[in-house]
Symmetry: C2
Subunit: 331 residues, 2 copies
DNA sequence: CGCAGAAATGTAACCGGTTACAGTCAGGCC
DNA sequence: GGCCTGACTGTAACCGGTTACATTTCTGCG
C-alpha cells in the first residue's frame, strides 16, 4: 500500500510537505505542490483515513439514533441528515435502537471510543445518564425532550395538535377520539395537551374513554379504531397521533363497512408520503421531515465546531394539510 | 484521556498484557487478568477504537449503498442488514446515493481509505469500474446484476412477475398493462421478461403500448395509470412493478371515479407495509425484505472472513399475496 | 551587500492501540 | 542439580498520518 512516505520519496520532499499539500495546499509553493500532486496521480495514492482520523482525533462520522428506520417519517429525516452530512464531509452511522436503551448506550459510547464525533437522536430516550453516557455532542430532533441542556429542534407539537383539534371542532365535531402513542412518550403528552387545550377552549368535556393507546404503528391504529368504534357512543372524528395509525384506523373503519369521512372523520399527524394516496386522502399535519434532518445536522456541525448551543431550542413550523378525510359529522 | 499505558501502569503490568486481557483473555493468567480488569473498572477505561482500527487495519464497519432510504422496501432491507451487523460487531454506514454514481464511487472508496471493510449495494449501479473502484468486498442484494463476479442475493424476479401475470390471466384478463421502472434497470427487464413469458405461454399478444414507463415511485405510478387509462382500449388489469407505483395507480384510478377491482385490477410488487392497508388491500408479490438484508450481511461477513463467494448467486423465495385489488374483468 | 522577517520546507515526536519476538519463570523429568 | 518445555509477560517496533518546532530559502529594503 502506498503511504505518505512513498509519496514524499517519489516527489523528493518531506512527509510534512505531502501532508500539507493535502490539507493546506496554500502553505506549499506551487512548484512543490505540483511535484507532490504528480506523485499522487502517478501512484493513485489515497490517504488512509483511518490513520488520519486516529491522528487528528476526529472521525468525521456521526451516529443517528432512530427507534425504527422503516418508519417512513424517520427515514425522511435521516435522508435530510445524510445529505447535509455528506456536504460537510461527514458520514452517518445508522443506529437502529429498536427502542432498547442498551443499544442506544452502545451507540452513544462510540463517541467516547472515537468512532463518531457526535450523535443525533430522533427519539427522546435517555442517553444522558449521568452515570454513563453524558457530555457528548448531541442534538435531539423531532421529539420533545425536557432536558434544557440538550440542543434540540422540534415542532410545536401541542400547537399543531391544538390546531388540528380546533379544525375538527370547527367542522362540528363534539366527540373526538384520539389514538395516541405510548403514554410515556413526550410526543404523545404534548400532542394530547394540545388536544385538551382545544377542547377546553371550546367548552367541550375531555372524555378519558375516547383516547385509545397505540404505539404510532399502523396496526396499533387499527386496534385503536376498533376499540373506539365499539363504544356505546362512538366518536364522530378520530385524531390519530401519527399517519401510520390513521392509515390503520381508516382500514379498520373500512372493514366495518363505514365510510370516511361520512361516517367518521379521521386525521393524522406527520404527512408521510402515503397520506396523500389514502382513500380518501388524509388530512394531517405536515412535519418538514427532511428539514428536521438537515437542521439537526447543521446544529450538530456547529456543536462540533465548538459552538455553545446549550439551551438551544429551535422550532420548525408545522402545516395543516387539509385533504378529504375529515368532514362534518352526521346529523 | 486514559490510555492503555495508564492501565498498564496502574495494574503493574505491560501494555501488551493489557491488550491481551482485552482481546485474548485466555492468554493471560487469571491473577493478572483480575488486576487489569480492576484497573479498567476503576478508571472506566474504554479503548480508543480508532487507534485499534488503525493498528489492526480493520474498521468493523460496512457501507450500504441505497438509492433512496425513504423507500419503504429499502428501509426494511437496511433494517435486516443493521441487525445482523450489530450482532457481529459491525456498524453500518449509510450511503444514500440518490442514484448518482459519483456518490456511489465516493462511498465505495471508503473501503480503500480503510473507513469501511466492505459494501452492500442495493441498487445495481456499477461501482465495479475497472478503472476505479474494484476489488473490494462487495455483495449485491435485491437487484439483479449480471456480473458473475459479484456475490449476490436476489429474488427470481422473472419467475415472480410471470406468476403474477399468470394469475391475472387466470382471472380472465387479456389486456394487462404494466407500469415499469426505469428501462435500463435490470429489475425492470427481468420482471418484464416474466410478464412476456406468461403472455406468450397463454398465447396472448405482447402490446408495447400497454407498458408505461415509471421509476418505481408512487407519483410515477399515478402517471402511468393515467396514461394507460387514456388509451382507446385501456387494459383491464395493471401490473405495477412496485407497490408504490401500484398505490399511485390506485389513487389515479380512484380520482377518475373508477373502482378497483371492478373497473380495473391493480397488482403490485414488494409487499410493503401499506399494501395491506390500501383500499382495497393490494394483491402483490412479497419480497422478504429483512431477510434480504440479513442474508446479504451474512454473505459479506463470510467474504470478510476470507471466504470465496465469487459466482455465488443466492435466491430468496417470493410469495404471492392475494388480497383484493385484482378480480375478474368486466364482461 | 547584508539583514530582518516571512515563507517554505524538513525533522521527528506523537496519537493509542497490536503484536513479533525475546525474556522470565515454574514444573517435570532424568 | 541441570535442562527442557510451555505458560506467561515484557520490550519495543509498527501502523500512517499530523504538526510543533527547527531550519533553510526567499524577499524586500536600507
Amino acid at each position: 500500500m502506498t503511504t505518505i512516505r512513498d509519496i514524499s520519496r517519489l516527489a523528493g520532499v518531506s512527509v510534512a510537505t505531502v501532508s500539507r499539500t493535502m490539507s493546506n495546499p496554500d502553505k506549499v509553493s506551487p512548484a512543490t505542490r505540483e511535484k507532490v500532486e504528480a506523485a499522487i496521480r502517478e501512484t493513485g495514492y489515497m490517504p488512509d483515513m483511518s490513520a488520519r482520523n486516529f491522528s487528528t482525533r476526529k472521525s468525521k462520522t456521526i451516529v443517528v439514533l432512530v427507534p425504527d428506520i422503516s418508519n417512513p417519517f424517520f427515514s425522511r429525516v435521516i435522508r435530510g441528515i445524510e445529505h447535509t452530512a455528506q456536504r460537510a464531509g461527514y458520514s452517518v452511522l445508522l443506529g437502529d435502537t429498536r427502542g432498547e436503551s442498551e443499544i442506544e448506550d452502545a451507540y452513544a459510547s462510540m463517541v467516547r471510543a472515537r468512532l463518531a464525533d457526535g450523535v443525533i437522536q430522533l427519539n427522546g430516550r435517555l442517553p444522558m445518564e449521568n452515570g454513563a453516557v453524558a457530555d457528548i455532542p448531541l442534538v435531539n430532533a423531532c421529539d420533545c425532550v425536557e432536558d434544557a441542556h440538550i440542543p434540540k429542534i422540534q415542532l410545536d407539537n401541542a400547537g399543531a395538535a391544538r390546531a388540528m383539534t380546533e379544525y375538527l371542532i370547527s367542522l362540528g365535531h363534539k366527540r373526538i377520539g384520539v389514538a395516541k402513542g405510548p403514554s410515556e412518550s413526550r410526543l404523545t403528552q404534548e400532542r394530547l395537551r394540545g388536544y385538551r387545550e382545544a377542547l377546553e377552549a371550546a367548552g367541550l368535556p375531555f372524555d378519558e374513554s375516547l383516547v385509545a393507546r397505540g404505539d404510532f404503528s399502523a396496526s396499533s391504529g387499527r386496534h385503536a379504531a376498533t376499540q373506539l368504534m365499539a363504544l356505546g357512543k362512538p366518536p364522530t372524528a378520530l385524531f390519530c397521533l401519527s399517519d401510520e395509525m390513521a392509515i390503520g384506523a381508516m382500514h379498520s373503519v373500512w372493514e366495518m363497512g363505514l365510510k370516511v369521512p361520512n361516517d367518521i372523520s379521521i386525521v393524522g399527524f406527520d404527512d408521510i408520503l402515503f397520506a396523500e394516496y389514502c382513500k380518501p386522502p388524509l388530512t394531517t399535519i405536515r412535519q418538514p421531515a427532511e428539514e428536521f434532518g438537515s437542521k439537526a445536522m447543521g446544529m450538530l456541525l456547529s456543536l462540533l465546531q465548538g459552538a455553545h448551543l446549550a439551551e438551544t431550542n429551535q422550532h420548525l413550523p408545522y402545516e395543516m394539510v387539509i385533504r378529504q378525510s375529515a368532514g362534518r359529522p352526521k346529523a
